[in-house]
Amino acid sequence: MSAEVLALDVVAPAVSGFIQGSVYGLLGLGLVLLYKSNRIFNFAQAEFGGVAAFVWIFFDTGRGVLPNLPTPVAVLLGILAAVLVALLTERLVVRPLFNAPKITVVVATAGVLLLLIAVEGFLYGGEAGSFPAIFSGDAVNSGAIRVTNQGVAIVVVLAVLSILAALFFSRSPFGTAILAVSQEATAARLVGISVERISALTWGIAGFLAGVAGILLAGTIGLAAPGSLTGLALVPAFTAAVFGGVTSLPGALVGGIVIGIIESEAQALIPKENLPGAGKVALFVALLLVLLVRPAGLLGKET
Amino acid sequence: MSVLEVRDLSIRFGGLQALQAVSLEVNEFEIVGLIGPNGAGKTTAFNCITGFYTPHDGAVTYRGKDVTKTAPHVKARMGFGRTFQNVGMVKGATALENLKTAQHAKAGYDVMSGLLGVGKTRRGEREMTVRAEAILDLLGLAQLRDKRVGGLSYGTLKLLELGCALATDPDILLLDEPTSGMGPEESDELGDRLLVLRREFGLTMLVIEHHVPLVLRVCDHVYVLNFGRMLAQGTPLEVQSHPDVIAAYLGGEAPEALAAASAERRDDRERSA
């Protein structure tokens, strides 16, 4: 294999997989947090990001009756919307089901997902549009390998957020409280931590992470159709979380990048004529193997 | 000839030796007691015998056949009827349905003809209902026929559970604390019932029991477990006066015994989850 072919077929997908995987990692981080605090899977996680992306684009373009706002403000509003939706989900759907079987709560989050897609559809009108990249231009462009500024921004945001998350969970009282609740809810209640408030806070953080991820990913894929974020990123985000054992925060980030690269390489190396949707198949196989062989995940310790 | 023979049974949970070279024998038509302080490993022994746990060492023989690694549902079909310490029934279903569920292996029709709903199925269903009602009558529970099991009192549940074990058409009955949740009078009555069941159905029984008067009255032979080891055996009277047994019961709530009990219970919960 010549160097150029190698660069084109192997390195280029690895680079784009790394970038895409960073977004999966951000979403996976939120999934892990919610699993730690509520012991559930949130099927609406990727669509929280979808809501952020749609709100951002509506304000950015001044759609309908909305004012046309500067991009940074619109982005901020988008992330706020994601946080708000996450908080509402916690308050109206998850909290009333605190003592319900976990499966019931999971189906309910799937309902929230459908609701969000429907709301996006109402607002957008059903025809597909497009999301602009927030950061235009290329950082690297050597023919075979191209890295956009948006891609660089994604990786930088992931790095910054993961450092912040690490600090938050090791230093801040709220962060340690979240971890305490996730380990032993009853004991945490006994020492005066409000499990309800911690739950709300966790959902807020998960919404924020999803909002950031959603806006960044939307700018990368361009296509704006209701539910497209879920279609693109939900399964990889879950796979990322499971890779790390659903309870490990760094595991989710690393898992996200690994998953991103696996998906991207499979898509690039296996011709569509032989196996359509090779990326998805690779994800399915990876998830199945992890669950069958090492249910605690590759980096997971606690269960 | 012995119906059930257990040789040198050993099992560990993590670092805890739950059973250490436990041996016992149950002969035809005998009622054998298995007693011991909490956490002694009685239920663990039951779970090894009925196939829910696979022992690390030792053998379980049923009528001359090695059944150490036989799956629980296969053992149930061979004639092992059992009850559980914390009541094993389908709580959402009625007493009648539970008794019919317990007759699964004896339904007289297979799954496919069951789905087609042919005459054989109807006959089988009718026979199962008749048998279930006969068992309810036998235990004096006829009025509970269509009551949901979940709402019944604990003592009634234990009795009904015994009925379910009977409905599996067992050869040997393994009863885990059949009198828990019953008052002294009810316990006495249960003792009579066990004797009647042995006579009427030719049953052999292994019984875990705390209620000493019952053990004295119905058991032909008694084994005493302590800390996973067989401490003593003999007739009820011999065992009752055995110095080791008295010592074990007086010190029965020693810290080690409690630790063993909680480890066993945790393991139970994990497996039933």
Partner: protein, 364 residues
């Protein structure tokens, strides 16, 4: 014989009023059903496709109910079994020229085979992880197998043309209805025989089931296979209903719609699930014709999007059902069904109902 019966069960002869109370509502419902099926629907060539959809959805709902309602395993991948059935029927008919009737057998078989594989996975992976892996299974099929060139007629979609005698939409509806009747009957017999009892027992406590001599592994697989067969056959009906099978429409939304109609219908409730199918099949149409045109224009100046209205109402219904009425439609209509069927003994005890079935026993 009669004398013995009365002696054994000394029950007072039912009063004429009781008889009337019992039979008047039954006859009324039967009459209404008869009117709908025999008078109203034959005249409804325009609405017949919706009725057909309802029947197809109801079959899938029953199928999902077996795995999720009876054995307590949440499957989010039934769009996979459904899609496989649809493609199997279309491909065998159009490419392999297999007789029409045989295509249904092949569709059911293909659904069963894939369900068997998922059932084996479900032996190792349970609870939330099973929900996740089944979801990914369905989505993966949508993007891979359902895009394979030879199966999909090079991506253009595999045609599935009905035989001439089924051209009439009304007649096709009755055709689907016949399948639904068979499915309902199967479900009915299932619950009333040892198989259904085995499934409910293993759902509640696997160890107790084993102590009763029930082969838990075999019955878990059986539930998946039966469910997959039903879903596959429903997929075949769907193929003939729309005439051409493509991957679009067999994806995520369908997977969630199936779960939705089963949960909103009421897990464990046969009639509830059937009504759930009817609800979701007609929602699109009803909303399109009435609500959307009038309300949506008014709320926002954006374009109409009726398909999202369906999702919106459906999702709201699901969330409300789960949070407020966990027993679904099945639980809500319980007084009515009890009145119609009478004080008949059911496998589910009366006070628990579908809520109890859906409730604490689902393994998480």
């Amino acid at each position: 014989m009669v004398a013995v019966d009365t002696a054994a069960t000394p029950v007072a002869r039912p009063h004429a009023v009781d008889l009337a109370l019992r039979w008047v509502p039954r006859l009324a419902v039967l009459g209404l059903l008869g009117y709908l099926l025999l008078v109203r629907m034959p005249a409804d060539e325009k609405y017949a496709p919706i009725y057909a959809d309802a029947a197809i959805y109801a079959i899938v709902g029953l199928s999902l109910n077996i795995v999720t309602g009876y054995t307590g395993q949440l499957s989010l991948g039934h769009n996979g079994f459904f899609g496989i059935g649809a493609f199997a029927a279309a491909y065998s008919l159009t490419v392999q020229h297999v007789p029409f009737a045989v295509t249904f057998v092949l569709a059911g078989l293909s659904g069963a085979v894939f369900a068997l594989v998922m059932g084996m996975v479900a032996l190792r992976i349970t609870g939330l992880y099973l929900a996740l892996i089944t979801l990914v299974f369905g989505l993966t099929l949508e993007d891979s197998l359902f895009e394979v060139s030879w199966l999909t007629n090079a991506g253009a979609g595999q045609p599935a043309n009905r035989p001439e005698w089924l051209f009439s939409e009304t007649r096709f509806f009755y055709f689907c209805l016949a399948f639904l009747v068979v499915a309902v009957y199967l479900d009915f017999v299932l619950l009333r025989t040892k198989t259904g009892r085995a499934l409910l027992a293993l759902k509640e406590n696997e160890r107790v089931a084993e102590a009763f001599g029930i082969n838990v592994t075999a019955f878990k697989l059986f539930a998946f296979v039966l469910s997959g067969t039903l879903a596959g056959v429903a997929g075949a009906l769907y193929a003939y209903r729309i005439g051409i099978v493509t991957a679009s429409g067999l994806g995520f939304n369908l997977a969630l719609t199936f779960v939705l109609l089963t949960v909103v219908g009421g897990l464990g409730s046969r009639l509830g699930v059937v009504l759930g199918g009817l609800l979701f099949a007609s929602l699109d149409f009803v909303l399109h014709d009435t609500w959307v045109h009038n309300v949506n224009d008014f709320v926002f100046a954006f374009q109409n999007a009726p398909q999202f209205a369906v999702g919106f109402i459906g999702a709201l219904g699901l969330i409300l059902t789960i949070v407020r009425y966990p027993g679904g439609i099945g639980q809500q209509i319980r007084p009515l069904t009890r009145l119609l069927v009478g004080g008949q003994r059911s496998l589910h005890a009366d006070d628990g109902g579908p809520a109890a079935v859906e409730g604490s026993n689902v393994r998480a």
